[in-house]
């Protein structure tokens, strides 16, 4: 049985006042809002105003699209500069240097082997140890294929993902299975 509201136990002396009405026996204090709580609320409102002004109205903020375009242009410039140093002779030399070929092997086995096989004999992708080069036999041709891919045949463009260093190492690793031109005076495999 629910007693009328007035029959509720009175507030003990020294306790805060209760609201006069009770709901199914539930009473309520009416305490002040904590200051830190109010300040938190006000601070987030101020942040909203400031953020909106800055991002949307002052013209000072750069849009996401423009920002990423600028970033990517810088990345592109660095990569182009790095690529320029990698001529055919350099890549052939790298292919005889285990520092590069071992690193290249690691990249090859995690990324390339799923299509070209760990023995480089091909599968979904082309055979890399036979005598046929589909897209040119020079190291620069290989660099281009790995960097830019052959999208029509399902070879992804790995340049953006792996970067010049890893790509050149992987190319050096592939070249290590092939014979360098005699005039470079490098050891055959």
């Amino acid at each position: 049985m629910t007693p009328p509201d007035s029959a509720h136990k009175p507030t003990a002396p020294g306790e805060d006042p209760l609201r006069p009405h009770a709901y199914d026996g539930i009473q309520e204090y009416d305490k002040r809002l904590p200051n830190w709580w109010l300040l938190t609320f006000y601070a987030t409102i101020v942040f909203w105003i400031g953020y909106w002004l800055y991002m949307q109205q002052t013209g000072l903020a750069v849009g996401d699209g423009k920002l990423i375009d600028e970033h990517m242009a810088r990345v592109e410039a660095v990569k182009l500069a790095a690529n320029a140093a990698l001529d055919d002779a350099t890549l052939w030399k790298m292919s005889r240097n285990p520092v590069f070929t071992e690193a290249g092997k690691a990249t090859f086995n995690t990324i390339c082997a799923s299509c070209h096989h760990v023995a480089l004999t091909g599968g979904i992708g082309a055979n890399l140890v036979d005598a046929t080069w589909i897209h040119g036999s020079q190291p620069a041709n290989l660099m281009k294929v790995v960097n830019e891919g052959v999208l029509a045949k399902g070879m992804p463009a790995w340049g953006p993902v792996l970067g010049t260093k890893k790509v050149s190492e992987a190319v050096a690793y592939v070249l290590s299975y092939h014979t360098p031109p005699a005039e470079l005076g490098l050891a055959p495999k």
């Binding site: 629910t2 709901y23 942040f47």
Partner: protein
């Protein structure tokens, strides 16, 4: 005083029914959760069976715990407390029963259709259209039953719990209906009317506020009733209730776009999503404070009473999750955390901690009252509490570690920021595997705890006599100061006028032109100052008006609806109006060919979006890994959009042409063929099932109705186009020694995958900039 005494017999049968359903579906939902978590670690647990794969079971898990577990818990709590707070029996026993059995039938339908692959392909909105209609109808039954009871109440004044219930009922109805508007192509399939960015925005307006108004507001209402009851203490602060209720329901609605930060979503929406999420922090903590501080003077009871233990922990987890939410909404934090396990951890702090523990506390408290028998074992309930708490902490800590680790690895670059440090996605996946295992253990512990609850329930109620509540109440005559507000009094009063004026002026500031911006900003400030001054001098009038609002159920409901509708209208209407094909800059999607469309429907059926996004964000690591960032126009014709929310696997927005057809063929048969260490399931049935070509005619017609620029195509022409494209793919596969026939689903799926990321450049004949 001419009080009259009446006797009320509460309908507690319906409460018992919903409570037992809560326990049953809780067990089912959590069991599926542990299974899908295990599948992420051990791909063999997908069993190569279509209906047991992760992509189909994950929606079953989310729908079961949200709508079946929390849904039934909410209905039990709402029905128990509402009757007592309003001093009235539920209006209609028939509607109550219809509500119960209708809801259970919906759950059973969902549990059958989702594993079979019938889905709308939108998170937490997967159920197919006939079930959508059933959900809407049963929700209306709930609403009628509730508001009818409200009309018949013997307690004129509405307690804060009732405010939250009102907000829940009207807002969920609004969200659910708008996000489920679809055009059927058959009895089991439909396309949503919104596409691309519109669909994304509507989806997260719904998805975020499903969390707000399905998992939060009703449970806050339940907290306001059951927590002071169990603690036998007064609620801490009435004025805090008022402030946090109105700020919560108003601000919550705006925060949806924080699920789409750094994506192709227009910047102004992202800015709204982030700033309003931050403003949501204090209103959410208002609820936590009122819960925790109500326990003052009752803390000693926590040692002995499992009910209070559960409530105290639940409210604490609520506070934790609602601090984490705004944190994750900061754009730079989100760049790390989005698509990662951190989000999964965040949701589970809320779902396991807040919802699960509130449910447990409520059930343990109600059991003895509804069955007139003491709880079978308090010790088991305490054990449940500790198992659950340890389980949540393990789960959440594992997901934080996992999410931050993988996020850092995916975003890490070397060589002066030009190259990804971890180019192989699988490296990042296999790094977090131990954390994924810890999640299974944490979730498993939580499930064991919940099974203890189920056992406790069974032992308590077996052989017990059910008992229905019955009270005698004195119905008082209304005092003249307590007459309900009319239309005039509802709107023309200081609080409403100042709030409405402030909101309008703030919108003028945010969205107006250069002059209006300044007018709006100063106008908003002036309005705020005037409101403060008015409140300082005539605060009693504000308080007096609110007292009268509390006895005015209809005006209260109308004002709540206005508060929750505002944010959605301001975000969605411009997005729907502006983002049309003729306004797209740079790039625009081409409609999918019939075969690609068939493949896309297979992609959706298998729930690929549960693990793969199709949205490359405006971030360097995303662009380095997946290609140029996604533009709005590229997904414009996607009904439903497939931007995704979690990258268990890599993004697929530009996967088309990245590999050749043979790669996909071999990969779908067993992903470990091409991707050693992958946790993706095998899809052997795609190699035997035939593509459903017959339905394409109807589907393309619906697409055309939705504004996708398909030329007129007859059924015969469609079949011909399908055959031609399939034949080309089969030849291409044959060249790589992969043999199949063109009518297989795998061919359609590969056609779709190879198409992803293809677009047309927009060439404008007349200058026509988007506003």
């Amino acid at each position: 005083m001419s009080d009259r005494k009446i006797t009320i017999n509460y309908n507690d049968r319906i409460v018992r029914q919903f409570m037992l359903a809560t326990v049953l579906w809780g067990v089912v939902g959590m069991l599926v959760g542990v299974l899908v978590a295990s599948q992420l670690n051990f791909w063999r647990l997908n069993f190569d069976l279509p209906w047991l794969t992760f992509g189909r079971l994950r929606p079953l898990h989310t729908n079961a715990v949200i709508f079946a577990f929390v849904g039934n818990m909410m209905f039990a709590g709402v029905y128990y407390s509402t009757q007592r707070l309003l001093k009235a029996r539920l209006a209609s026993d028939f509607l109550s029963s219809l509500h119960f059995w209708g809801w259970q039938a919906i759950i059973v339908c969902a549990a059958i259709t989702l594993p079979l692959g019938f889905t709308r392909g939108k998170e937490y909105a997967e159920l197919i259209w006939p079930i959508n209609i059933a959900v809407a109808l049963i929700w209306v039954v709930f609403a009628v039953n509730f508001f009818w009871t409200l009309a018949k109440r013997n307690e004129p004044s509405l307690y804060v719990a009732i405010w939250f219930y009102i907000a829940t009922i009207i807002t969920v109805a609004m969200l659910y209906i708008v996000n489920h508007i679809s055009i059927p192509t058959s009895l089991l399939h439909s396309y949503p009317v919104f596409g691309g960015v519109q669909d994304a925005l509507v989806q997260w307006w719904y998805g975020h506020n499903a969390v707000a108004f399905f998992l939060t507001t009703p449970i806050l209402g339940i907290m306001y009733y059951f927590l002071p009851k169990a603690a036998e203490r007064p609620v801490y602060s009435y004025r805090l209730s008022v402030i946090h209720f109105w700020s919560l329901v108003f601000v919550y609605i705006w925060a949806g776009p924080h699920h789409l930060l750094n994506t192709a979503l227009p910047n102004w929406l992202q800015a709204l999503g982030m700033t309003f999420s931050l403003m949501l922090w204090a209103p959410s903590w208002g609820g936590m404070l009122n819960g925790l501080l109500t326990l003052r003077g009752a803390w000693h009871k926590l040692r002995t009473d499992p009910v209070l233990k559960f409530y105290a922990a639940a409210v604490t987890f609520y506070g934790m999750a609602t601090f984490e939410g705004p944190l994750l909404s900061i754009k730079s934090v989100n760049a790390l955390a989005h698509y990662s396990d951190w989000i999964i951890g965040h949701v589970h702090a809320g779902a396991l901690g807040w919802n699960g523990f509130m449910a447990a506390g409520m059930i343990y408290w109600l059991l003895p009252k509804l069955w007139n028998k003491p709880l079978y074992s308090t010790a088991l309930a305490n054990l449940h509490f500790w198992l659950g708490t340890v389980g949540i902490l393990l789960y959440v800590a594992a997901m934080w570690t996992s999410g931050i680790t993988q996020g850092l690895m995916l975003n890490a670059t070397t060589e002066g920021g030009t190259v990804l440090a971890y180019p192989n996605f699988l490296d990042t996946l296999n790094t977090i595997r131990p954390m994924m295992l810890m999640r299974v253990i944490g979730g498993g512990l939580y499930l064991v705890g919940f099974l203890l609850l189920a056992y406790n329930v069974i032992r308590t109620i077996s052989g017990a006599q059910v008992v229905d509540g019955r009270v005698e109440v004195y119905v008082e005559e209304l005092k003249s100061s307590e007459r309900p507000l009319g239309a005039f009094g509802t709107f023309l009063n200081p609080p409403v006028v100042f709030s409405a004026l402030g909101t309008v002026l703030a919108c003028v500031w945010m969205f107006g032109g250069p002059v209006l911006q300044i007018v709006g900003l100063f106008g908003t400030a002036l309005c705020a100052i005037l409101a403060v001054a008015h409140f300082a001098t005539r605060g009693t009038r504000w308080a007096g008006w609110y007292e009268r609002l509390l006895v005015s159920a209809a005006p209260f409901t109308v004002l709540t609806f206005v508060a929750v509708a505002a944010g959605g209208l301001i975000q969605i209407v411009p997005t729907v109006v502006v983002n049309k094909a003729q306004n797209m800059e740079e790039r625009i999607a081409k409609p999918y060919t019939p075969l690609e469309l068939a493949g896309r429907d297979i992609y959706i059926r298998e729930g690929c979006y549960n693990c793969h996004s199709q949205m490359i964000r405006t971030m360097v690591p995303d662009v380095l890994r997946y290609g140029d960032y996604s533009r709005l126009g590229e997904s414009l014709f996607d009904h439903p959009y497939q931007w995704g929310s979690r990258r268990t696997g890599p993004d697929l927005a530009r996967v088309g042409g990245k590999y050749n057809a043979a790669w996909h063929f071999v990969h779908m048969a067993d992903p470990r063929n091409t991707s050693p260490g992958s946790n993706m399931p095998n899809y052997p049935w795609l190699f035997t099932k035939q593509t459903d070509v017959a339905s394409l005619y109807g589907k393309i017609n619906v697409m055309r109705t939705l504004g996708v620029p398909y030329p007129p195509l007859s059924a015969a022409l469609i079949a011909e186009e399908v055959e031609t494209q399939a034949k080309m793919l089969v030849e291409e596969l044959k060249a790589s020694q992969q043999l199949t026939s063109g009518d297989r689903e795998i061919v359609a799926l590969i056609a779709y995958l190879q198409r992803l990321g293809k677009f047309e450049k927009v060439v404008r004949t007349t200058a026509h900039a988007a506003p």
